[in-house]
Symmetry: C2
Amino acid sequence: MSVTAPSGFVASGVACGIKGDGALDLALVATEDGGAVPAAGVFTSNRAAAAPVEVSRAHLASSGGLASAVVVSSGNANAATGEQGVADAEKICTLAAGGLGATPSQVLLCQTGLIGIPLPMNQIESGIGPLLESRAVGEGAARLAAEAMMTTDTVRKEIVVPGPGFVVGGMAKGAAMLSPHMVPPQGVAHATMLAVLTTDARCDPRELVSSLASAVDSSFNRMTVDGCTSTNDTVLVLASGASATTPEPADLRAALEEACSVLAEMMAADAEGGTKVVKVTVNGAVSVDEAHKAARKVAESSLVKCSLNGEDPYWGRVMSELGSSGVAFEPPRVRIAYGGIIVCDGGVASPHDEKALREYMKQSSLEISCDLGLGHATAMITTCDLGYGYIDENRTTS
Amino acid sequence: MSVTAPSGFVASGVACGIKGDGALDLALVATEDGGAVPAAGVFTSNRAAAAPVEVSRAHLASSGGLASAVVVSSGNANAATGEQGVADAEKICTLAAGGLGATPSQVLLCQTGLIGIPLPMNQIESGIGPLLESRAVGEGAARLAAEAMMTTDTVRKEIVVPGPGFVVGGMAKGAAMLSPHMVPPQGVAHATMLAVLTTDARCDPRELVSSLASAVDSSFNRMTVDGCTSTNDTVLVLASGASATTPEPADLRAALEEACSVLAEMMAADAEGGTKVVKVTVNGAVSVDEAHKAARKVAESSLVKCSLNGEDPYWGRVMSELGSSGVAFEPPRVRIAYGGIIVCDGGVASPHDEKALREYMKQSSLEISCDLGLGHATAMITTCDLGYGYIDENRTTS
């Protein structure tokens, strides 16, 4: 179960031919009766934002934060497609709205795939009918939707989080071009990652957008695979209100954050060519911003990521990245540990159990923690190693 | 010929045992008579700067910009080695100064290799004698010095540039952890790249440092292999004055810039795992800073670099990196070309000769040019592709 776990939602997934291999590529999440409900979104901060990002932002603004449905397509990002791309995105919303009895501005759109190629509208138009007709409440329908949003993902990414009196469900995709910096329409955020969340909680659109922004900021925006911020990153949430529970804001935020965090972790675990999920923590920074900046520099370092692929605890590279991250830094105060095993103290090598460390490095989930020794601020960024598979996946698009 | 091409310099290179495999690892460039001459340096902006960087900076400051020699060692970076590292670096300078009849502050030091490991001082101390004894004017001696500074470099990097009435010579190393941001001691600069330049021009130390800073800023600081700024990046120049020519400042600068540019290009061509040298130009930016920022974002993109490795002109990734670089950006104004073949115009795909483009992508030297269409500022960054070899080289240090 994922997006249909909260009451009031249906889903579907079909193959319409965007992908050449006949795989599922068109998904729908909609309210059960087609009525508009409170909705919110956060979107990429990339200034080359794709047409579906522009259109979804505009729809949320003009509807006042109400939506009936989200259409998701994969295989073509509809990015760098100019005015035609926007017109195509609008047409998809209009077609779906027609079938749902909604207005076009109540339909949101997420797209992912190759950049710079006009959408194959014939295929998509022919797929909208079957997509709407097959929408259903069950687990199977939600699974088809989650599968239809995948590109290079090797596993479906689905989550259900129970809150007090309500439920949050979600599905997501993302394996590379993955360094989400998403922001609310008024605000700021990075990856192509897409996530569609649903909840049966009752809440107003304003509360929903602030809860979502907060949840995304501490989850997707704290995860990086390759430092490449996509043109299409989007997280959307629809709240049916079907549970009749109006949650405390903190409870809603906590449930959304839990859902986003689990989905973000699934992305890091499924990263192209990645064999390890790695949490880089920076403590003792002079500000949270500096802690984040330093952690991100380490997490995005090709050299650090190659070492992790080779299971080599070469902390010298971590030290070098911290030093070049631009934050306040005094080498004699620095301590670095892998899985709690201190390898560098006072800025120099520290004696440690090398055998235990070698064993630790074999794990699929690793923690690097860096204490700058200057302040009390802390931040964590989740990343992965860099292996051959990433190159294989990204050498050619054909 | 390289560092001994200008009159007044000797060089040598020996194997002292820092490297386990018996390869050359200790080099010297010195004035012929051991006398101090005008000298200048620019150093990494990494705040985890290695001991040799700290020591060379301090020596140039206390000598007032005079030096008799540069000692270079490879295999151990003497970085993250604390006070002991600084003491070791000072000792090397003192030993060399003793043999040359110079004062310790007139000896500069460059080191490269693994971070976080104490220097094998026994080996280095035993090597200083043979290093000094074998110093000589000839081409062979310069070649040994250039070889002794190599780490993962596969070729020696040497250059001679004739100026009007004077000569500039140089040798360098660098293949990864290569994104130099070097600055003069008072100022700011990235890589482990090391370069030692010599000239027989007459000039004062102040002119030399400003000419060097300018030359480095438009060469090494415009080249990136992996976005990782080393703890050890250093460029040094010594001016013997033996030509008796006092060049126009512009002539000296031009010759230094030519030498640095050729050496930087050699580094990009010898980058670990790289198969292509790629020049990324951004035109039409609103400021030179923004042009640089955008060009660097494209040049450091793992996704763009994988495409280049696969000879795939996937311009959508270039567009995405430009859009997420943080500079002023309006998609409808953007034009992107590979080798002059326009693939994107007005922010969307542009019809082009696909066969000609496929042929172009096979070349070992490529140009990507991006016009933002917003202003008149331009900048160029040299980079390389990302292939298996980079991962092979950096998975493990043993």
